[in-house]
Amino acid sequence: MHKKMNIINHYDAIVIGGGPAGLTAGIYLSRARIKTLILNEGTAGGQMVLTHEIANYPGVENISGFQLANIMKKQALSFGCEIKSFIKIDSLKLDGRIKSITLSDGTTYTSDTVIITTGGRSRTLGVEGEDIFKGKGISYCATCDGDFFTGKEIVVVGGGNSALEEAVSLTKYATKVTIIHQFDYFQAFEYAVEEAKNNPKIDFILNSTITAFHGNDKLESVTIKNLNTGKTQEFTTDGAFIFIGYIPNTEMFKSIVELNKWGEIIVDKNMSTNLQGVYAAGDSIEKRYRQITTAVGDATVAALAASEFIHKSKQKQFNLN
């Protein structure tokens, strides 16, 4: 005998994640009259709200990430999409015809299709003292906290575009910026490297990493380890800005959907994962370029493919009956 399905919590599609990809999927699916729920562990808009100014989103001359996120959210809601933010997913079952997702409060939602748009997050060093001094000397946002370091000496960790560009911008406030990077070369574009190298306030410590943060009420020093020699040194500093890239938010899908060695979800050209009825889009998938525009594009494909899948499944059910 079939177990009776809880109709109230059943959706045609559940989108996991509420950044630009998730909201786009929500807009397309809801507009196609597909009953859709977005389950979002953070703020609607995802990493998009981290961008102060977006000048290259076609059709919009200049807008903040926060405003663009709010417009996308409003659009999705206007078509009848439901959005639940700041939830915590406890467990999921994505194989089989009916997918189910259980939240930490015990509520279970089921659906015919799932679109994963969980995006990524800033990588942290994960070393001793990092949690303690977050907001007390350690920062991940130069535009937010740069002015607290006026007249102070700071370190910047990383060697990509963000690290070098933010190091240069932080010289507006800090008297000295030391860039600590694990390699003897930079992943950043040449122009960013040149600009940093030509800045008299910027010094470099290469082939090195921070292994611990120290202080009392606030950050006072860091332990720097040379990765070639293994030698460590205590380095006095008032602040540390960390820009060491992003990691995909895909831990919960490990051994559920196919991931590559970096934890990115593998999809085909229809944004379909290895599981039938499960799609993925945005920064959490394996791809070269991570932009709001590419997330929106991926999610459009995923939503259209999911719509087709739902339509065909319903047709099949109808024919069987």
């Binding site: 977050k134 907001g135 000397g137 350690i138 937010c144 950050l219």
Partner: protein, 118 residues
């Protein structure tokens, strides 16, 4: 200007009035940036659940925000938002920079616990 749905505190006088009229108050003092927006979002989300708490925000760059910036509890803070929890007008907890919903809830549950009359 803070584009949130929280009660905006515009002046030191208004700040004092809110503290005198409410037993439990949370004030998020920040800007419209990546570390602050999630905390406003969490507060907006929790407003319905914690009806005994008054949730407010205040612009960090408003000169009147000295009422927050000069608190002894925020000495050493170098990351916005500065989030202050007041009980009967007294600071009971202050946090610097971004927080998770779980972290905020843990503070609200501990500092603003509701007493149940037997």
């Amino acid at each position: 200007m803070l584009y949130t749905n929280l009660k905006h505190i515009e002046s030191a006088e208004e700040h004092a009035k809110i503290l005198s009229e409410n037993e439990n108050v949370m004030v998020i003092c920040g800007r419209m940036g990546p570390m602050c927006i999630p905390v406003y979002g969490i507060a907006e989300e929790l407003e319905n659940e914690y009806k005994h708490v008054k949730f407010c925000d205040m612009e960090f760059d408003n000169p009147e925000a000295y009422v927050i910036r000069n608190l002894p509890e925020v000495r050493g803070f170098m990351g916005i938002p500065f989030t202050i929890y007041y009980k009967n007008g007294k600071v009971v907890k202050a946090t610097s920079s971004i927080q998770t919903k779980e972290q905020v809830k843990a503070i609200l549950d501990k500092e603003f616990a509701q007493t149940v009359n037997a």
